[in-house]
């Protein structure tokens, strides 16, 4: 356990300032009495209360949200702190005031009403102080959580862009384009069009939350056409989308990582290349989209469905449809299959 002593010191100083304010307020109500005793009492009670609570919570298991012990333990700690502060604080303060003769020429004047008032002040000040520290910890925690969440979202977006605009893919594609311009300008133009559509879709993906399945398949077609030019006879592909599913809204670029995985981990490492098949169909109230390849399978990659792309798809599906959507992934020596099921009525 590491204790942030700087933070503790800051808490102590704040407690002292608060105590001074309480003592001054008290003095303001009875200005005919000396100022010193309420200051000594207030500071001693406050410091001891602070010590018991703030140091004490180091030894108790604290809730992550607030840094305070949860439930009755927290309340018990505060009560113990205030009681100890009161008992030890008043005794010590009385001793100090007597020793240094701070009570003034008439000695200590303390009626029953004074005692009740002191207890009340200690209780109220102790509770307010504790609550203030508690609330501040909690709001700091929430602010930290928000920053973390923002960081995660940025990381994810950046990682997605990095995988899709991977420099190796970009430069190889450009090299192919450069080669085609010389030998087949018409095909070069087609390739450039596919590339433009692919880039636009990738860069827009963070803005468009969803688009029709037809558009999703068009983007897959752009990507696969680019890869087919690059890989030549090593890549064959089929895209099958029934007309009645064409307008179904799906999260933008949901399938893209699956097809990219099939290329990258399935077909690119395979000397003879292979096929990719993407099919959508209805199945008992849901839409099933399958991406199959005849690549080398998961072997060697060993990601076993834990890769960034799959995790990301699962997260997006869960956020949109909860348990009603699913992604299953399996791979063996014959290739890899990914199967997404989405509820038809979104």
């Amino acid at each position: 356990m590491t204790v942030d002593w700087v933070a503790k010191l800051r808490n102590l100083l704040q407690t002292l300032a608060f105590c001074l304010a309480v003592a001054t307020l008290q003095y303001g109500f009875v200005p005919e009495r000396p100022y010193a005793p309420p200051v000594v009492y207030s500071i001693l009670i406050g410091t001891i209360t602070w010590a018991v609570i703030d140091i004490g919570r180091v030894f108790l298991r604290s809730a992550r949200e607030t840094g305070w012990p949860a439930g009755w333990r927290g309340i018990a700690l505060v009560a113990t702190g205030i009681a100890t502060g009161w008992l030890v604080g008043t005794t010590t303060a009385d001793l100090v005031c007597r020793t240094f003769q701070l009570y003034g020429p008439w000695g200590r004047m303390h009626s029953g009403a004074d005692l009740r008032a002191d207890i009340l002040i200690t209780l109220i000040a102790g509770s307010i102080g504790s609550y203030w520290f508690y609330a501040r910890n909690k709001s700091e925690y929430l602010a930290r959580r928000m920053r973390e969440a923002e960081g995660h979202a940025n990381d994810a977006r950046l990682k997605l862009l990095e995988t899709q605009l991977e420099p190796h893919m970009m430069f190889n594609t450009l090299a192919n384009l450069r080669a085609l311009i010389g030998v087949d300008p018409v095909r070069a133009q087609q390739m450039l069009d596919h590339m433009i559509a692919y880039l636009r879709a990738t860069l827009d993906a963070s803005r468009a939350a969803s688009h029709p399945l037809r558009v999703e398949f068009e983007r897959l077609h752009d990507y696969l056409e680019l890869m087919a030019i690059r890989m030549g006879p090593r890549l064959a592909y089929t895209l099958e989308l029934p007309d009645d599913l064409a307008e179904l809204p799906v999260p933008a670029l949901l399938l893209q990582p699956l097809v990219e995985n099939s290329i990258k981990h399935g077909l690119e490492p395979k000397v003879e290349g292979g096929r990719i098949e993407v099919r959508a169909r209805r199945e008992a109230g849901s839409v099933v989209i399958e991406v199959r390849d005849s690549g080398v399978g998961a072997n060697g990659q060993g990601s076993g469905g834990q890769g960034f792309g799959l995790v990301q798809i699962r997260e997006r599906l869960a956020a949109l449809h909860g348990a009603r959507a699913s992604l299953d992934f399996s791979a063996d020596t014959g290739g890899a299959q990914a199967r997404i099921a989405l509820p038809l009525a979104a």
Binding site: H168, N172, L174, L177, R178, R230, G232, V271, G273, G300
Partner: protein
């Protein structure tokens, strides 16, 4: 005699483009063969014995670096080893290593001006070449060794394996690491060979290697890692190749030229 070249590139359009650019930059160069993967590159180079090799770094199966190492191992001693040029679209780590080892490379898309520089260097190298390529081969092997080691970002040091856990049917066999004589990559498995038997594990050799004590376990071939204390002697055959004789096992283990430097008398 006209100089010859072999191009190994898995993307057909890029292979054709490189051939076309080479025809412009080096008209007398004859492209003997174009192949699309690393294994074919090794076979093709052995068959044609070209003067220059253009190897793409990323190819299916064997990559360009591994193919070059394999080729150096199988290369006949009486012929000079070809000049090597690597081709890549983008490989940060590899490029740094190439610079450090003074190994030539060209970036895709190939820029004519850059290619001409490479061609000039190659012409000078071919003119200065000795017919007997022993020293040149040694130098190439040294470079390849460094390049293969520098093949990626430095991996974090991993805790050493104490025991190999191998699934055999429904049980898991526990093999203490000091009982292992050698590891051998076999298709989709790694054979873990002990004095009196063997088990198979699925973890690739590449992933096992950083978890082994490098003092004790020596890589002697692309697919073989041997416990040094299990080796009884090292023998050289007529072709100059090294073979390991083991203490407890009868089979001999071939040492790749890439790792022959490990075995020298003290």
């Amino acid at each position: 005699m006209k100089p010859t070249a072999l191009i190994a590139e898995d993307e057909p359009l890029l292979a054709q483009a490189l051939r076309a650019e080479l025809a412009a930059a080096w008209p007398e160069l004859e492209v003997a063969a174009i192949v699309g993967d690393g294994a074919a590159a090794v076979r093709g180079a052995l068959a044609h014995r070209p003067d220059v090799l253009f190897f793409d770094i990323r190819m299916p199966g064997l990559g360009g670096l591994e193919a070059a190492a394999e080729l150096a191992d199988a290369w006949p001693q009486e012929t000079a080893f070809p000049a090597l040029v690597f081709v890549t679209a983008y490989d940060q780590y590899a490029l740094q290593a190439f610079e450090a080892q003074a190994v030539d490379y060209v970036l895709k898309p190939v820029q004519p001006a850059r290619l001409r520089k490479t061609v000039d260097k190659l012409r000078a190298a071919l003119a200065a070449r000795q017919p007997q390529g022993g020293a040149a081969l040694e130098a190439t092997l040294g470079q390849l060794r460094h390049l293969l080691q520098a093949g990626g970002p430095a991996a974090a040091p991993q805790p050493l394996l104490k025991v190999i856990q191998a699934g055999v049917g429904t049980t898991i066999r526990m093999v203490p690491i000091e009982d292992v004589v050698y590891f051998e990559a076999a298709d989709k498995y790694v054979r873990v060979v002990t004095d009196d038997g063997e088990v198979l594990v699925r973890t690739p050799l590449k992933e096992l290697l950083p978890q082994l004590d490098a003092q004790l376990f020596w890589q002697v071939h692309r697919g073989t890692v041997v416990r040094s204390t299990a080796i009884e002697s090292v023998q050289r055959d007529e072709a100059g190749k090294l073979h390991l004789v083991l203490r407890a096992r009868r089979e001999r283990i071939a040492v790749s030229r890439l790792y022959a430097h490990l075995f020298r008398a003290m």
